[in-house]
């Protein structure tokens, strides 16, 4: 049970409790049988209403009994409707009937109120309120809004109540501005109210979105004043997550990388399109499904597509797709704003959306930094000084730097993330290291940016860069054939999304086994030297999915001792257990 303290009980007390439970259970069974029997006979009468009411008052979660009540109520609504339309009924009868129905509906609201009082988290009891309000001729929505406020006064985080509030506000035709004010009221009362900050962010999004594109348009003035508001909250309690989450949301409004985010209203763009002899590879700014990507290519064939994902072996939606065919596809490369469609042949040159790739890997820090960002950085710095053990100001400062100064502040970003992982918040060390890993990947990609985008080489080299994850390489899926990740902290490679890689070096990583990886099925060369791989069994499931492998370097691994065993399993592969 939730929120119930365990107290020492004697055997006597236990026995008494068991007896009481048995009695309650028998009473319940008796009433339940009666209810079910009446329902099965179609006796939706007052007795059925009072039987179900008696049980729901004690246990509001039995939705079947609410269903029975709803059926009864609907029958009475129909009956009243017929009576109102009938020429044989008198005005008095009509009035009486309507009044009786109204009483029934308000009684139902009262029952739901009583149920919510004893169980404020009952889905069924809250649902019944909305259901009734929708059926009342003139629901008292003002009163209902007050009730929501009262309930939130008792538990400001009750999400059932917040959800109900959303329904009532819509019924009462409350404007988003009014709901924004409502969030103001609650936040001013209590800064530590994640639910109210969330409600606020939704209201702001609804107020400031472009009717046509759906994109959010919040200007600098508003952002600045919102930051001022939330600043009060994090200065009040810098440990409170509510304010920091809201700050992060503000920080990312208008971000240059917004087009990559799943909730973005920006059109999905092609990042690269390239032909690789046996497939055409398409990389998009966000995950797409087959029907969508068909609008970018000159084929209607849905059968030869293959998607790659770091979390699923058979994704149906992905940023990275291959069309398996010996002849290249033609792709649409015009911008959505263009009026005519531009088709591009991929025979010799790949299509590369250079400016988007530059944004993705922070090649330029072009975004002018608004004044409020400077202030936010300073506020974080002040709090870091005041509360050096608090993770939030340091983490927020780092997030701001990642967004606005990823190149200029690279060293500080790395130092902050290490400090968070090693000293301040070791519970989430791997999470910080994953962010660090991505920052280092971006750094490395920037250094070789022109070479990667050029047609001379297909190499990506990210050595000794503390990579713990390969998230982020997928944007280069159409450009990289040779990848070298030597000397990093990778424990696994099966999440790698580089489906055109034929030559892979993962030497000197703390890898103990190799799992099958759909994106490496064309591998010809693999170097796993200096890894911790020790048994043939721990790598065979992987090798069985790579029929094209012809060279394997595994020097300085425990696997060297198993060379003969490995040779028996991989007869066609040139095994290199020792440096020449």
């Amino acid at each position: 049970m939730h929120f119930v303290k365990k107290v020492p009980t004697t055997e006597e007390e236990k026995a008494a409790r068991a007896k009481e439970q048995l009695k309650r259970s028998q009473q319940f069974i008796h009433a339940r049988d009666r209810i079910v029997a009446k329902r099965d006979k179609g006796e939706y009468d007052d007795e059925l209403l009072s039987l179900t009411q008696a049980i729901l008052e004690k246990n509001a979660d039995i939705y079947t009994f609410w269903n029975i009540r709803r059926t009864t109520i609907e029958m009475r609504i129909d009956a009243n409707q017929k009576l109102q339309e009938s020429s044989q009924s008198t005005e008095e009868e009509k009035k009486m009937s309507t009044q009786k129905l109204e009483n029934l509906l308000s009684g139902e609201l009262f029952l739901s109120y009583e149920c919510i009082k004893s169980n404020p988290k009952s889905y069924s009891a809250w649902y019944q309120r909305a259901w009734i309000l929708e059926r009342q001729a003139a629901p008292d929505l003002a009163k209902e809004l007050v009730l929501c406020e009262k309930a939130l006064g008792m538990d400001c985080r009750n999400f059932h109540c917040w959800d109900h509030r959303r329904i009532v506000a819509r019924m009462a035709k409350r404007t988003e501005e009014q709901e924004l004010e409502f969030s103001d009221k609650l936040i001013n009362h209590n800064f530590s109210n994640y639910s109210a900050w969330h409600y606020r962010s939704i209201a702001l999004k609804n107020i400031h979105h472009d009717e046509i594109t759906g994109a959010m348009r919040i200007d600098h003035g508003l952002l600045s004043s919102e930051l001022q508001k939330v600043k009060n909250a994090f200065y009040m309690d810098a440990e409170d997550q509510s304010a920091w989450t809201y700050t992060r949301w503000l920080l990312e409004v208008g971000s240059g990388k917004e087009f990559l985010r799943p909730e973005s209203a920006a059109p999905i763009e092609l990042i690269t399109a390239s032909f690789h002899g046996n497939n055409t590879t398409l990389v998009f700014s966000r995950a797409v499904t087959i029907p969508f990507l068909l609008t970018f290519v000159d084929t209607e064939d849905t059968t030869r597509w293959r998607a790659f994902s770091s979390t699923s072996p058979n994704p149906t939606s992905s940023r990275v797709w291959q069309y398996l065919s010996d002849s290249p596809l033609r792709v649409v490369t015009s911008k959505p704003a263009d009026e005519t469609t531009t088709w591009t042949e991929l025979t010799e040159q790949p299509y590369i959306n250079r400016s988007r790739l530059e944004t993705i890997y922070d090649v330029h820090e072009t975004t002018p930094q608004p004044e409020y960002i400077g202030e936010l950085l300073e506020d974080c710095q002040n709090l870091i000084k005041e509360e050096p053990d608090n993770k939030w100001p340091l983490y927020m400062r780092t997030l701001v730097l990642l967004e606005y100064q990823p190149v200029k502040s690279h060293e500080e970003i790395i130092a902050n993330l290490k400090h968070l992982a090693d000293c301040i918040d070791p519970k989430r060390a791997e999470m910080y290291r994953a962010i660090l890993s991505r920052q280092k990947l971006n750094f490395s990609v920037r250094e070789q940016f022109d070479r990667i985008l050029g047609t001379e080489h297909d190499q990506l080299v990210v050595r000794y860069s503390e990579l713990t994850s390969l998230e982020g390489v997928e944007y280069l899926a159409g450009l990289v054939g040779t990848a070298d990740f030597q000397g990093n902290q990778l424990k696994e490679i099966h999440r790698m999304v580089l489906p055109n890689v034929h030559n892979l070096t993962i030497s000197e990583n703390p890898i103990e086994s190799l799992q099958p990886c759909p994106s490496l099925s064309h591998l010809k060369f693999l170097a796993i030297a200096g890894t911790q791989i020790s048994s043939v069994a721990s790598v065979m499931p992987f090798f069985q999915t790579i029929p094209s492998l012809d060279r394997l370097i595994f020097c300085e691994t425990p696997l060297v001792e198993k060379t003969e065993e490995l040779r028996a399993q991989l007869p066609g592969v040139r095994l290199i257990p020792h440096w020449l």
Partner: protein, 304 residues
């Protein structure tokens, strides 16, 4: 709720008592569950609680040795097994909850619900009795609850919740009939419930919640569309659910509760980011939630 229970509202974390259990109390849990199993009153006549089957499913997973890997480890040191009779009883009971609409209720005589329909299918699969179910009518039932906007009602009343999307997709998936429902519109609705903090709520605009995230991430995984969300952002929100005590809470600034060890951890596992939290301190929190007198787990140490 006691006064001490009320005080919990004001706190944001707990301390693990010195004398709390430090390891898994297998035998005690076994007898705790066995008590439910032996009590036919609970099974057949008791309070027809939604969730009773969940208990059954956990029981079967945990102790029959046919479930998940960790449960087989549990079983290794455990003599308790469901006997054949109990298995038949359970299958019969599940089948007795079937309604004419094709769905299953929580107990005989109760209306069908997607939650219980999924539970029925899961239970029948655990006991190799799926052939006793009518897959066609189950699928018809599920399909009938999908709305035009892609969302699902949990049952006839019309209540909509992303939990029900998960139940619908999981049910069809387990029956090998995923194409029964409109996956595209289901995903469209699901993504409308995705928040910028990385989480999911019950309906569009609703606040993120760990349990809801599990349902939505699970639903995305079933249809192979995890790339439709920012997995790192979601995993980060989930990682911040870990409190200093090692326990996980369901939403920011709430007390840890052992049930979220499941919702959060399962979500992180699906996202491939189990390492984003500290597993040792989480285990210690779970151990401390055990009742070392009767067996079973409380929401947090010291509760019952």
């Amino acid at each position: 709720m006691s006064f001490a229970g009320l005080l919990d509202f004001a706190r944001k974390d707990v301390e693990l008592p010195q004398n709390s259990p430090k390891q898994l109390l297998r035998d005690l849990h076994s007898s705790f569950i066995q008590k439910y199993e032996k009590d036919k009153n609970t099974l057949h006549n008791g309070r027809a609680y939604p969730g009773q089957w969940n208990l059954l499913v956990c029981k079967c997973d945990g102790f029959d040795g046919r479930g998940i890997e960790s449960s087989s480890k549990l079983n290794a040191n455990n003599t308790f097994q469901l006997d054949k009779m109990s298995a038949e009883d359970i299958v019969d009971y599940v089948l007795s909850c079937r309604n004419v609409d094709g769905g299953y209720g929580p107990a005989p005589g109760h209306d069908s619900h997607l939650l219980h329909t999924l539970c029925a299918v899961q239970t029948l699969i655990i006991f190799d009795a799926l052939q006793k179910a009518d897959a066609d009518s189950i699928c018809e039932y599920v399909k009938g609850l999908q709305n035009k906007d892609g969302s699902f009602c949990g049952e006839i009343s019309g209540e909509i919740d992303t939990r029900f999307t998960m139940c619908a997709l999981a049910t069809c998936h387990l029956l090998g009939r995923l194409s029964t429902v409109n996956i595209d519109s289901a995903m469209k609705f699901l993504l409308r419930c995705y928040n910028t903090d990385g989480g999911f709520g019950t309906r569009p605009g609703s606040e993120s919640h760990s349990g809801q995230i599990y349902c939505c991430v699970g639903a995305l995984a079933i249809v192979g569309r995890l790339d439709d969300i920012d997995r790192d952002r979601t995993a980060e929100w989930l990682a911040f659910r870990q409190c200093d005590s090692g326990g996980l809470n369901g939403r920011p600034e709430k007390l840890p509760d052992v049930c979220y060890s499941w919702w959060v951890l399962a979500s992180l596992a699906i996202l491939g980011r189990l390492n984003f939290i500290d597993q040792e301190s989480m285990k210690n929190f779970i151990y401390a939630c055990q009742d070392d007198e009767t067996g079973g787990f409380a929401d947090r140490p010291g509760d019952c």
